[in-house]
């Protein structure tokens, strides 16, 4: 057994025993570390879940990962800026693109009227079969039925809009809009379904009808407003986007979700940095407690340290001993903290109902059920930050202890 190994073992023993010399203080410190680490991991998981939800939600509301449209459609989403429905060749190449789903839709501003109210809306013509993958609308149906075909004559409105219009399922309303020649086009529709969006504002604005029915109404047979493409994962849409762009004629413009909604994009990009900042902030609060504990532990045993120094222990080993003490403290605290965090997140994976604050959440674009998302990377990050910064903050007390003058320390009262 080498000298170094035996020294290390002695130091380890000393550290471990020192740690439990004042077991109440150590216990409190362990508690603080555990709660801090739990907060880091738990809150990060909540935030991840919330942001993921907001992004998914936001992308479903756009909808789609990539949208293809007339270049002027974004500035003026009117019926004039429509594009031709994909012909068979274009269709085939869209099918070969490797997207999960693509679909065409019409989107025009319109007016809806009941016997008692009139409101402005977004009239959306959909291919009902594709909608499950694109906007998730079929899953949001509250009462009535979803549209059944591209020629369906029914209309789907949001629950809140129905309330505002003082109408309900099964009643007729009138939709009014304009054709490309600026003539007023209007007809009656029967409400066949009512949906409840996760974000209540959307219920008031988005009204859905079948695509072909709207083409007829708006006199734009064979034309649509947008082609919507949905890929596997919104985080990894770039290759699909590039392939699609090469496919498109110059007259069409493709935009990925992060270009369509820069708020979503910013949120997506900021999230990682945000998690780190959050972890460090909690650590800062934690570090005061940690430093204080260590400093106290050292003040308590100034004489003892003086004695060991006088007996010939090298100052380096003192530093080593105190850092080890701090490391042990941190490791135990982290183990407990991680355990609590995992145990508290697991049962919540099914969703955390926060409908008490649903209104505020809706303002941010999140729904009222939170699904915490525990990422291994976040957990590792929290642990690494705590250990590395914990050791760094322990260096100062350790260094001070090592620099004690043995004579003065022995005589200290």
């Amino acid at each position: 057994m080498s000298v170094f190994q035996s020294q290390a073992r002695v130091v380890l023993t000393l550290s471990w025993r020192n740690l439990w010399r004042n077991s109440r203080r150590t216990g409190i410190m362990l508690g603080a570390i555990a709660v801090g680490v739990w907060a880091m991991i738990f809150m990060t998981a909540l935030m991840r879940g919330m942001v993921d939800d907001m992004l998914n939600q936001g992308i479903r509301n756009l909808p789609g990962h990539i949208q293809v449209q007339h270049p002027a459609f974004l500035d003026d989403p009117s019926v004039v800026n429509s594009i031709a429905e994909p012909d068979s060749e274009f269709r085939a190449s869209l099918d070969r693109l490797g997207a999960v789903r693509w679909s065409t839709r019409i989107k025009v501003p319109a007016v809806i009227a009941s016997e008692r109210e009139t409101r402005g809306i977004n009239l959306i013509g959909i291919e009902p079969a594709a909608e499950d993958d694109i906007s998730g609308l079929p899953a949001l149906m509250d009462t009535g039925r979803f549209l059944e075909s591209d020629q369906d004559q029914g209309l789907i409105v949001g629950a809140r809009l129905a309330e505002r219009l003082e109408t309900r399922l099964g009643k007729r309303v009138v939709i009014m809009s304009q054709d490309p020649a600026n003539n007023i086009r209007e007809r009656g529709f029967r409400i066949v379904g009512i949906y409840r969006a996760k974000l209540p504002e959307l219920e008031e604005f988005n009204v859905y009808a079948a695509r072909d029915t709207l083409q007829q109404l708006l006199h734009i047979e064979g034309r649509v407003s947008q082609i919507i493409v949905v890929g596997d994962d919104y985080r990894d849409i770039e290759p699909l986007y590039q392939r699609l762009r090469q496919l498109l004629p110059a007259t069409l413009e493709a935009r990925a979700w992060y270009q369509i909604d820069s708020y979503l994009a910013a949120m997506f990009k900021m999230m990682d940095g945000f998690v780190l900042v959050w972890i460090i902030i909690i650590f800062l609060a934690l570090s005061f407690g940690l430093v204080n504990t260590l400093v106290m532990a050292i003040f308590e045993r100034v004489r003892e340290i003086g004695l060991i120094l006088a007996l010939g222990m090298r100052p380096g080993l003192i530093v080593y001993q105190i850092l080890l003490e701090s490391l042990l403290l941190l490791l135990i605290g982290l183990a407990i903290g991680n355990g609590i965090a995992y145990a508290s997140i697991k049962p919540l994976q099914g969703g955390l109902d926060i409908s008490a604050v649903a209104e505020g959440m809706a303002m941010m674009g999140a729904s009222s059920v939170l699904y915490p998302k525990l990422l291994a990377a976040d957990m590792i990050l929290a642990n690494v930050v705590v250990i590395v910064l914990g050791i760094v903050t322990s260096i100062l007390p350790a260094w001070r202890a090592a620099r004690l003058d043995p004579l003065r320390a022995l005589n200290a009262t």
């Binding site: 501003p109 319109a110 007016v111 009227a113 009941s114 016997e115 008692r116 009139t118 402005g120 004559q153 109408t167 009643k171 007729r172 309303v173 009138v174 009014m176 809009s177 304009q178 600026n182 003539n183 007023i184 086009r185 209007e186 007809r187 009656g188 529709f189 029967r190």
Partner: protein, 262 residues
């Protein structure tokens, strides 16, 4: 304010349509003889095909705590073209509306602009006026977009009076569940009721006075109100009317809307 005036034009347009539908004629009532409700309404409409008129009207909006009146001049040709201009009160004078078929333009001297009324504004209410659009604006639509049924006919003051129930088709651009029209054999509309889809009466228009002007009987005074607020109503009265006037080619044009030449 501008929007209100804008809408006033819409409203006037409808009033014109009512006028066309209701102010009636001296003679021929072949359709009335058969009693076929669809033909009755068609005949009432077609009665005005090619007929020109110039009229002076007053429109009054009444509310429990205020009341407002407008004087207007109106020219019509058939049921497709009409031009309306406000003459009183002075701050609204000069506002005009031109209707050709289903298109509609308004002109406001204060902004010196002609605007084409977009779909979104066709449905708006004018200063809380009780005339709402859809019901009566599209004169010819009432024939084709509804199923008509003769409910009853009776004799009143020496005239045959028909009560017709009109139920809009599934895809008709009509919000009502049904409408009931009471019409006299000389095509004067005595009453029009608007029922919602739950079979509740929502609003009603009554002809309160019929007068003999320029050799014809016309509905000289009509009042529209919502059943829920009977103390709020809008009334249209015809002060003078001339039929079969000479209409210059330039009358129903945008330039005439902006720069009146009569």
């Amino acid at each position: 304010m501008a929007k209100h005036r804008f809408d006033s034009a819409t409203r006037i347009y409808q009033l014109m349509q009512i006028l066309l539908l209701t102010s009636a004629a001296c003679c021929s009532a072949q359709a009335a003889d058969t009693g076929d409700p669809r033909e009755l309404i068609r005949a009432a409409m077609q009665h005005w095909r090619g007929v020109t008129s110039y009229s002076e009207m007053t429109m009054t909006i009444h509310r429990p705590d205020w009341q407002r009146s407008f004087s207007m001049q109106a020219w019509t040709e058939g049921d497709k073209q009409s031009l309306v201009r406000v003459t009183e009160p002075r701050r609204d004078a000069g506002n005009g509306t031109l209707v050709k078929d289903k298109s509609m333009w308004t002109y406001s001297p204060k902004i010196n602009r002609i605007l084409k009324v977009p779909a979104s504004m066709m449905n708006q209410s004018w200063m809380g006026s009780d005339f709402s659009n859809k019901d009566i604006s599209k004169s010819t639509d009432i024939i084709d977009q509804y199923d008509h049924r003769l409910v009853s006919s009776e004799t009143r003051d020496g005239h045959l009076v028909y009560t017709i129930e009109s139920i809009p088709h599934e895809d008709a651009a009509v919000v009502w569940g049904r409408e009931i029209v009471v019409i006299r054999d000389d095509y004067i509309m005595l009453k029009q009721q608007f029922w919602d889809q739950d079979n509740l009466l929502v609003k009603e228009m009554n002809t309160t006075s019929i007068e003999f002007m320029d050799n014809r009987h016309i509905a000289a005074r009509m009042r529209m109100y919502q059943l829920e607020t009977p103390e709020e109503w809008t009334e249209l009265s015809v002060d003078a009317i001339d039929f079969d006037i000479d209409v210059a080619e330039s009358l129903f044009t945008l330039s005439n809307l902006r720069n009146p030449r009569q």
